[in-house]
Symmetry: C2
Subunit: 318 residues, 2 copies
């Protein structure tokens, strides 16, 4: 097997109360990646379709940097007499728009390391692949975070307990959980969204937040949609970042009126996500998102997707 086609999913990080720790994978949108192993040393990115804003310098491309990190580790492990010439050819078809806040750079980084692992005979564990993909995130956003690459690689809803040591858990996902996304096409830089946050927060707010995090995890395991709904609350980050997103509170109020369980800002924005029980409600919620945004002078895209419990998918290229 020399080549595979990879489908790498969009992801929602900062799931309401689960700021910096809870994220989930979507079925759509998803990037398509063609990855070929060759005897020509080095990594080459041939084409990046449907995206003109991605960096041309490979050292600034998350897929390139992540795969480079994997390849370095792979070569370190080889014995001297086993050294083989290994290179990769990458073709990226970006359906997840850069800067959307639904894990565009993560999909590229996670997709290529996941695919390369298969082409190399699965020498690496999921947690190792997450580490490589995090190097891609470091280039793309300035911090080697796992909020998006973890759900992309593991699928479903993931929880980052700790970075030191890296400790990531895949939570149980109720199968009726659907996601509606609206991506207002405005620019919110992750670094700016970080800067407006406070370094110190009230203890009382923090306690409320971790009460909600505990309840959200319990709600997922019990498939208790009411409890999930009550715990989708963020008293710390959302009140500050909401100002970055046009009509954020109107979106939230009207989506809940129509039946959404709750939601918030996806990653550091500008996308907003809403969770619903079932496909039917999720589609109605997406319609409401459209109705809220159609009068505004802002381009936007919407998506409706189930939670992607598997994460990255792939097929062999014949």
């Amino acid at each position: 097997m020399k080549g595979i086609k990879i489908f790498s999913p969009a992801t929602v990080a900062n799931l309401a109360c689960g700021f910096d720790v809870i994220g989930l994978a979507l079925d759509f949108p998803k990037d398509e990646i063609f990855l070929y192993k060759s005897n020509n040393p080095g990594i080459r990115i041939h084409r990046i379709h449907r995206s003109s804003s991605l960096p041309n310098d490979p050292m600034k491309n998350s897929a390139f940097v992540a795969l480079q990190s994997l390849l370095k580790k792979y070569k370190q492990r080889q014995k001297f007499d086993e050294k083989e010439k290994i290179g990769f050819e990458i073709e990226l078809i970006k359906n997840i728009l850069p800067g959307s806040g639904i894990g565009s750079s993560a999909a590229s980084a996670a997709g290529v390391v996941y695919g390369a692992n298969i082409l190399l005979g699965n020498p690496f564990s999921a947690i190792q692949l997450i580490r490589f993909a995090m190097e891609g995130e470091r280039i793309a956003s300035g911090t080697a975070h796992a909020d998006n690459v973890a759900p992309a690689i593991m699928g479903g809803v993931t929880l980052i307990r700790s970075y030191k040591p890296l400790d990531i858990t895949k939570l149980h996902t109720p199968n009726k959980l659907w996601v509606s996304i609206i991506h207002p096409q405005i620019e919110v830089k992750t670094s700016d969204a970080r800067e407006i946050l406070k370094q110190k927060i009230l203890m009382t707010d923090a306690i409320r937040q971790w009460g909600n995090v505990g309840a959200l995890v319990a709600g997922l395991y019990r498939e208790d949609y009411e409890l999930i709904s009550r715990s989708l609350e963020d008293v710390i980050v959302e009140p500050i970042r909401a100002m970055l997103i046009p009509s954020f509170y109107e979106l939230q109020v009207r989506c809940k009126e129509i039946g959404a369980l709750g939601g918030g800002i996806s990653g550091s924005g500008p996308s907003v996500f809403m969770l619903s029980k079932g496909n039917y409600t999720a589609k109605k919620v997406t319609e409401v998102m459209n109705r809220v945004y159609s009068p505004l002078q802002v381009d936007y895209k919407t998506y409706t997707s189930p939670i992607n419990s598997q994460g990255i998918k792939w097929t062999q290229i014949l």
Copy 2:
């Protein structure tokens, strides 16, 4: 049925990372309460065995105040022509020492309201009983908290998602989870333990704490003792309160060496709890607690108990 005997359990609040939100019920120690319904209006506490430090003034007694709160609500609900003369006689046998940090006042308050509900024909829900018992806690500790009365009444491990509105969830409890307790007989006033805490905390610490809370809840549902162990970490309150408890860090290190999953300060101290997988390890952990404390000039008691999944138990008095 005019009288019942109630067994009301000790409880551990502030379960490591779950400060102010996660608590659990023990099988021992437990208070014994004899409660009789009579036609003589009012509430009378006849004897409080094994405790000389409890207040004589009934308005300062958590059991009296909690039961008074229940009775008031009960009478409000009765129609005028149904008004009956109702009174209660209470006899408390306190095995849980006041000031121990394992829910002594909560056991009294929760026990009497739970028992009175049975004698009145179960007019109240668990959440209502918790509200009444919280009034007892307000008298005993200055705040109407549910950290101890919730696990006493609901049993197992409980999570307080929110106070406004009051929203409490019983979590899944792995059946091999045992608890070791050491109660150093020194005085730590809850109000003092509150005062030394900071009103503002670092965002990075708060994120670590809620990552641990999410992982602890996931660990309980998955019966993943390793994950429970890794998430029993408190980076916010324990570093400040540890100074109140003699040899706290030595206890923690040596208990973990012998196999404890982890632990921390019970409530606002001075008791320290450790969780273990299985009876055998828990007993070894309790022995280690004894060995750490026996050279110190401090009186102490130790207990080993499974988690009490039922909470308060009762039998009819024939």
